[in-house]
């Protein structure tokens, strides 16, 4: 009750007098990082993500912090999935909290809004999760870097597998928004470049979160494809998988599917995970590298839970920021941006680099097949696809990215 009261009066006071914006700064010499993400908008991904960055920050601070003993202090805010709110929060973090770096965001439009804010206000922004290619290419700017492999990179990883399939008639199903649209467009373009004999015979665009799975499955089947490229995820994916399995859509058909191997999306499917689908994902329980083992041990000890892909993203984002600060030797924005360019960081997936040419990290993803094991979906026959190998030639990037 005391807490609620405090919030209530705090808020009321703010409304009445527009006061209450000055929080006491209690760690004067700490390095402040402002973090924005859609915690209420997409908790399934963002809560493991937060665990990840908390772990990274604790590790850095436990080792004595940065720049000779300065601790990292993270000020984290929920953007509610709204770009306008994210920009206000970015304003707050920069002008009122005095953060040195901005990080985070999940949704592409929120990420773009913050990246534009960062460019306008000359603050470093490390976008953690947004997938849109625009953030590093068409709308790319000096102050924005992105960690996760982009839509282009992930689609390219799957094209490599798809091209090996005998299938010639392809159908696509993707949520009806930018991510879905560009994933399909890239997949089509790259696959047809590798396999001119391939044709696309059907496409479905269910509204995000509102798939009418029965009709969609039936419509896809009607186009009689040899293989299907799927971009749906979350609740749409489980409906699609259920209806598709029941109605025999996946019988004798290959399915290539984006992100489905990530624990966030694979685990809810439990025993109904679609066997044989070729996916990008994160087989957290099978990776046996020193970097990953160290990460997973620390994570499980700290949270008593297994990491999701979001955890790796959160962890690596903040490790990268820490590395950049050390490399720059200061928290000066221009120095930080220069440090970020070409920065190499050790991630649970191995060493990655933030490319100078487009500020995209070379973090990759795991590509494999889904299998059932003890009543749950796992990835088999997987390999790590290094992001660096799935980016277009520099000339293409330079053309798409403004100076």
């Amino acid at each position: 009750m005391q807490r609620i009261k405090r919030y209530f009066w705090g808020a009321a006071a703010a409304v009445a007098a527009a006061a209450g914006f000055t929080d006491p700064t209690w760690a004067a010499d700490s390095i402040k990082i402002g973090e924005i993400n859609s915690y209420t908008g997409l908790p399934a991904f963002t809560i493991p993500y937060r665990n990840g960055w908390e772990l990274a920050v604790e590790e850095v601070n436990a080792k004595g912090g940065l720049l000779g003993g300065r601790q990292i202090e993270v000020i984290s805010r929920d953007d509610g999935g709204k770009p306008g709110d994210a920009v206000r929060i970015a304003n707050e973090l920069v002008t009122s909290e005095g953060v040195d770096v901005l990080a985070g965001t999940f949704f592409s439009h929120v990420g773009l809004a913050v990246s534009d804010f960062a460019a306008h206000n000359q603050v470093l922004f490390v976008a953690a999760e947004p997938l849109t290619d625009a953030i590093t290419w068409e709308e790319g700017n000096r102050y924005t870097f992105r960690l996760r492999p982009s839509t282009y990179m992930q689609a390219a990883m799957l094209v490599e597998e798809a091209a090996k399939l005998p299938a010639k008639r392809w159908a696509t199903v993707a949520p009806n928004y930018e991510y879905g649209q560009s994933a399909v467009a890239i997949f089509k373009e790259l696959l047809q470049a590798k396999r001119p004999d391939v044709e696309f015979v059907g496409e479905q665009w269910p509204a995000l979160g509102k798939i009418d799975a029965g009709s969609t499955v039936q419509a896809l089947a009607a186009s009689q494809p040899d293989a299907i490229f799927n971009v749906t995820f979350g609740a749409d994916l489980s409906s699609f998988v259920r209806e598709g399995s029941l109605r025999g859509l996946f019988e004798d058909r290959a399915v290539v599917s984006l992100l489905t191997g990530e624990p966030e999306y694979l685990d809810p499917l439990k025993g109904e995970a679609p066997e044989g689908w070729i996916v990008t994902g994160y087989p957290w329980d099978q990776i046996d590298t020193p970097e990953h083992n160290a990460f997973i041990d620390a994570y499980q000890e700290r949270f008593d839970d297994y990491p999701r892909l979001g955890s790796v993203v959160g962890y690596t984002t903040f490790k990268a920021i820490a590395a950049a600060i050390e490399k720059a030797g200061s928290t000066d924005t221009e120095a930080l941006v220069d440090a970020m360019e070409g920065l190499t960081v050790s991630s649970p997936f191995g060493e990655i680099e933030f490319r100078t040419i487009d500020h995209q990290a070379t973090m990759g993803a795991y590509v494999g097949k889904i299998a059932l094991e003890d009543g749950r979906g796992v990835m088999t026959d997987w390999r790590y696809a290094d992001g660096a190998d799935y980016l277009p030639p520099d000339a293409v990037v330079a053309e798409r990215r403004p100076e």
């Binding site: 808020a11 527009a18 209420t40 306008g84 206000r88 928004y177 009607a222």
Partner: protein, 621 residues
Amino acid sequence: MAFYVAQFLSGLSQAASLFLVAAGLSIIFGVTRIVNFAHGSFYMLGAYLAYMMADMWSGAVGFWGAILLSALTVGLLGVAMEVLLLRRLYRSPELFQLLATFGVVLVVQDVALAIWGPEDLLGPRAPGLDGVVRIFGLPFPQYELFLIVLGPAVLGLLWLTFHRTRWGTLVRAATQDREMTAALGVNQTWLFTSVLFLGSALAGLGGALQIPREAVNLQMDINIVVEAFVVVVVGGMGSVTGAFLAALLIGQLQAFGILIFPGITLVLVFLVMAVVLVVRPYGLLGRAPATARGESHALEPPLYPAGRGLQFAGLALIVALIALPAVLGDYALVVLTEVLILALFAASLHFIMGPGGMISFGHAAYFGLGAYGAALLVEHFDAGMVTGLVVAPLAAGVGALLFGWFCVRLSGVYLAMLTLAFAQIVWSVAFQWYSVTGGDNGILGVWPAAWASPKWVFYYLTLVLCTGGVLLLRRIIFAPFGYALRAGRDSPLRSDAIGLDVTRYQWLAFTLAGTFAGLAGGLYAYAKGSVFPTLLDIPISVDGLVMVLLGGVQTLSGPIVGAAVFHGLETEMVRYTDYWRLLLGLTIILLVLVFPQGIVGALQSRLGARFSPRLREQVAR
């Protein structure tokens, strides 16, 4: 052939799911006239409860028991909402209960997250119905067939209840003419409570029956509630059979529409609604309200120009707003700038809702059109900020002129839903027309001109434009045009008899409101630096409604106070806790209970003597 049959059946099963939810909403609205935003939340709770129970008890009995028990539980939650909350608000202004149910939506979202966690939960398949049958050789799920049968069965049961029981007769009577039923001595309290039970239980059942079809998730509430409203309105408010027909129509158009235009999924239901409402203003089976006197039932208090006290307070506020940059930091100015913009947005919505008596669920269209008007100029013509701010209201005004022509021909919730349909159509255009609008990646780089870049300069610019806009709207309300609007709201019959073309004035008012909303949207674009389709989307419209109702729709300063309180609460709560939705929802519920006329409305009736001496004196005589 086989394929078309299968597609037809898929459409039917989708329609059956939709019908169950919509039927409950339709019954609740028909009797209580409450626009129940929480209906989707009950649907979601039904799904979560059924998942939880089916997970605990296995087997056929466990599964079907879980479905029924969760429906009953949700029905009881509906009763709780009625008894604890809605019952206290039946004497509030029209639509005020909407605000309370909005609070419930926020609370349920966080409660569900706290109880069931963030991950999607895939429930079991229905025991005994987990296979397929072959129809013309194509496999078709048994469970979908079950739903196809269940829809008409529920319709039949409801029909029998309404036509063969005394309770049902009362419900139908209340749906047709609420005053008459009250006059006949029917115990309304009991009737409302029981209707909330039935309606909520149907929502719960609808949700529970989804667990074999989709993973239970935290977006289920938002994803269903708007569609359920569409079905209810297309069918005709209060007509369960109409809801059934509407669900069939939408289900089939969806099933076959995606074969021809796969991209139509975003906007199909709203296109259907717009067409139906333009052709049939009361939906497929709806009737014009029986009380065709056309008088507004809520007693509208008179409006008086500001007395000395209020004038002084207003002046003091403006002086304070002018002085604030001297003492406030940049971030505080950013928030204040937003409050000013939202105050203008809310005031423009209030202009048509209060004096105009026209509810809008789609005011975001004009906010967004303003923002896009400015942003598109920047993007494609490299226009400056001043040009952008001139074009923003014009673009929105033209949109409002176009859509308003259709909307003002309707009334009540039908009008509101048509505004929503148009807003969603505009939204889907912005969302999908990549080459021009950038789709959902939006338009970036819409920053103020260099001279207006400092936060305090932009703040003053916003202060001048928004205060000017709000005062101008206020001025118009007291000018003959504002009186003509109120006249149309108070008594269309009388207005017709003294030569007032109410529809034309409403159209003009709609356009004006859109224009001012567009100015707010234009300012918002420059304040944020980027524009996205979210600015045209339902949450913005809902925020506007919440601000107007929270402040008090029957007052002139209500929208401004509502904007400040709502935005202030939201921005502050986000800073302190992850559970800000719970906190915000509870705060709204609390405010609604403490101020059942809205904040300013309640203050006015309590402190009326001080601010508006004439009011008390004249009423009391």
